[in-house]
Amino acid sequence: MSFGARIALALILLVLVGGVLIIGNGAPVASGFQIASLNLPSAKAEKPFYQEEFINASQDLPFVHVASVTELVDHSLAALWYGGPYEHSPENQIYFSKERDGIWLSPQIIMTTEQVEHDLNRPIKCLGNPLMLPNPDGTLRLLFVSIAMGKWSGSQLNTSLSKDGGTTWSRVERLTLSPFFNLSELVRNRPVRTTEGWCVPVYQEFLGKFPELLWLSERNGKISYEKTRIAGGCSTLQPSLIPVDARRAFVLLRDYTKTKRIFISRSADAGLSWSKPEATNLPNPDSGISGIRLPKGRLLVTFNDATWGRSNLSVALSIDEGRSWKRIAILENDNEKSFSYPYMMQASDGVIHVTYSWDGRKVKEVTFNEAWVNEQEAKQP
């Protein structure tokens, strides 16, 4: 090719790339958080209220894990978990249950290993952590982990959409989130609505263990996404994202260092950059945590109150934006059992819901209101 032709090709290339940059590639830019408004009925708000029940009481599985509870657009509740014979079993399935008139309906199987293999046209080893994103248009976006090989470090993220309230699900799509064979991306904690879509806390546990955020948006049924980082290294994971306003947010982090403490990091630019994670005064035995922000600015966290083991589950409160914490209640305490992976959310009626793995065999839900929190706080010295 002559020199003139090469120059012409270079110019065409520059115009082409420039044109694409002007049009944009459609990927979602990290965008401001939306804070859900509460619609507090006075009876539920003023009188202390506490209740506990098993969501899957009728289900007899040797292993259930990573439960979450979501408020749907019609203000009803839905819960999600995975379970089967054991943690990495190919027979594990993802279960979905809805609450009607205060009663949890029988769990429905919404995803199996065979279904994912069929849709993706490739083998997988087993299923793992699921998470539900209730879109404002009433559709439900499911994110879930599948393991390609080995254990959690060999995991990949997938998604599917339901337009009929969870009865049927679209063909599963694989999300590509890591350049190294797309390995080791997991979901676990509560997503937050943004102006463009969703911000989903994710984490990687391959060579390092570190927290990240997945930004999702949907246009004309097509999902687009990108990922940003909270911290690197082999330090903390499973971020629990707590927005304060459109720009400010906290993340509470599970510890993977020898510090054995819950870590906290702060953002003032809508999650684009984060402060260096700092240890709080709450212990963490390398186990999952979940936090929310109450309407008056107080932070609430559910956690295993120990530096080793998961035989208890407690609730702590912070009135100074996570700088100090005060234990206010013990939800579980039994040395013979394990209580793990709490998932906390506040519904639009102000009721706080906590779901967790109860001894690895049941999904338990504890519900209480802010008046109960105030009562518990007042009881503490």
Partner: protein, 207 residues
């Protein structure tokens, strides 16, 4: 061909080309029969069913986004090995390995968590396409043929024919990255040896 269909078949190209090259053996001038048979046998091997899936889908389990660069370099190598035109000269291969090495050093350590900054995130914005376009223009102007591969990579970044939506996955994958680093190390070693020899020769020539 729908985009889903392309997502299904695209990851098969790189393993098929690589296996075809392996089956051709080390003989630089394989027989005509072997040149025809190797790609056919490679395709047959990749279609062997293993637990309900052909072997090639097991490869896609791990690598569903072979880079456009790797696929084209393998195709260029295979065309040359089966008696087709030699599309790349040694300087074109050197550019391919050098750029692959630079890209892997920028991408993998940070993306895998060695820094608080995630270099993989650049692939969801325009920066990586701009950098690739700049390198392509330079290579085009100096007449390096690796530029034509990068032109197709840029088209991939625009039209996103792969399962991944990240531009990095058009440019590089772990296999191309590892090959590039090994090849670059070998190029540097051979350069050191050759300059060492010429240096020694010059010293010996001095009175």
């Amino acid at each position: 061909m729908s985009i889903d269909c392309f997502h299904y078949f695209y990851p098969a190209f790189a393993p098929w080309l690589a296996l075809s090259l392996l089956l051709l053996g080390r003989n630089p001038h394989p027989s005509r029969l072997r040149s025809i048979a190797s790609p056919l046998i490679a395709a047959g091997i990749l279609l062997i069913p293993l637990e309900h899936f052909p072997l090639v889908r097991w490869i896609a389990l791990l690598e569903s986004n072979p880079s456009i660069t790797l696929t084209l370099l393998l195709a260029i190598a295979l065309i040359a090995r089966v008696g087709g035109p030699r599309l790349f000269r040694s300087q074109d291969w050197r550019a391919a390995w050098l750029i692959g090495s630079m890209a892997s050093l920028v991408l993998y350590p940070a993306a895998l968590g060695l820094s608080p900054f995630d270099s993989y995130n650049l692939g969801w914005g325009p920066l990586l396409a701009i950098a690739t376009a700049a390198i392509t223009v330079v290579l085009l102007v100096i007449g390096n043929r690796f530029a034509y591969v990068l032109v197709l990579v840029l088209l991939g970044m625009i039209f996103h024919p792969m399962e991944s939506t990240n531009d990095w996955d058009c440019l590089i994958d772990a296999c191309y990255g590892i090959f590039s680093l090994i090849a670059t190390i070998l190029i540097v070693i051979s350069y050191k040896i050759s300059t060492g020899h010429s240096g020694n020769a010059r010293r010996k020539a001095l009175p």
